[in-house]
């Protein structure tokens, strides 16, 4: 059991009716019967999988676990030795307990390794395998996890995009305004010219002349330089 908790699965008790212990405003969207769970290479046997708006429950007679979709880094259809060669849904979990940006930035890599080294847990990959007894369920399971991930984008993005409908950065008017300006070919040059209509005019005189002017100025001449100095 320890392995499952180590990789971030939350132990849960089944609710009175035998279903998952749901929060308020949470409901079961899909149920998959007879799904074997292998967590960090430990076979936990067969249970029932419940998918809700923001997490996944796996409940068996002996144990129950939940994991948030937001903590699932990737999921894939696979079959390998640890799923006993049977097709499974392979999931990798976020390995940092409360990292702000999912797996964390590049800077946290070494700290993580050190921590793992001290704890002697370096070889526990945070991964799950869900093996449905009926392999035909696998595509539905994959799809359900895709939809779950799409319903649960990252916390940080939610904060940044308040009021944005589904993470759209520009509204239609902004896009059209940008496209119209671009198609007219205005914008770039006018913006840059700004208050200085002569900005992109050819420079007056060449380096040789400037050199001459400077030399004259240095020689004590008080004449005003046409370029306003340097």
């Amino acid at each position: 059991m320890a392995a499952a908790e180590l990789i971030g699965l939350e132990p849960v008790q089944a609710a009175a009716g035998g279903g998952p212990p749901l929060d308020e405003e949470e409901s079961v969207i899909a149920t998959f019967e007879r799904v074997q769970l292998v967590a960090a290479a430990q076979d936990l046997g067969e249970g029932t999988l419940f998918i809700t708006e923001w997490r996944v429950f796996w409940l068996a007679a002996a144990a129950g676990y939940s994991v948030d979709f937001a903590a699932i880094v990737m999921h894939a259809v696979a079959s390998d030795d640890e799923s006993f060669g049977k097709p499974c849904l392979y999931c990798q979990l976020d390995s940092e307990e409360e990292g702000e940006g999912g797996l964390g930035g590049s800077g946290s890599g070494s700290e993580e390794e050190e921590a793992e080294g001290e704890g002697g847990q370096a070889d526990v990959l945070p991964e799950l395998r869900l093996i449905p007894a009926d392999a035909a369920q696998l595509d539905d399971l994959f799809q359900a996890f895709c939809e779950g991930a799409e319903r649960n984008p990252d916390w940080s993005e939610d904060e940044e995009e308040e009021g944005g409908a589904g993470g759209v950065f520009f509204d239609e008017d902004e896009v059209l305004a940008g496209a119209a300006a671009a198609s007219l070919g205005v914008g770039d040059v006018e913006e840059l010219v700004g208050q200085d209509p002569g900005r992109f005019e050819d420079a007056e005189g060449d380096e040789f002349e400037e050199f001459g002017q400077r030399r004259r100025a240095a020689a004590g001449g008080r004449e005003r330089q046409p370029n306003g100095g340097c």
Binding site: V73, Q92, D188, E191
Partner: protein, 93 residues
């Protein structure tokens, strides 16, 4: 939005997605959404000595927030178009 629009043009092409946990997966881009979640088909794992069990993966879904790099197919990079689009986005933003 630029990345999303651009990656959409790569659907059906082969890309390599490198995750922040160093797993790198090459596959055919099946779809991408506005969170840059990515679905790949026909996968192979680039650093398979580290992830030997990933050899058997057929299709996968990667959460956008854990992607570190996406290696693009060189033939699909229209530099002129990207140049134009980034400039437009910079001005708009």
């Amino acid at each position: 939005m630029l990345f999303y629009s651009y990656f959409k043009t790569l659907v059906g092409k082969e890309v390599t997605v490198e995750l922040k946990n160093d797993l790198a997966i090459t596959g055919t881009l099946h779809s991408v959404d506005q969170y840059l979640n990515i679905k790949l088909n026909n996968i192979r794992v680039v650093n398979e000595q580290k992830y030997p069990h990933m050899l058997s993966v057929r299709a996968c879904f990667v959460r956008g927030s854990v992607v570190r790099f996406i290696l693009l197919p060189p033939g699909s990079v229209d530099v002129e178009l990207l140049h134009d689009a980034t400039r437009r986005e910079a001005r708009g933003g």
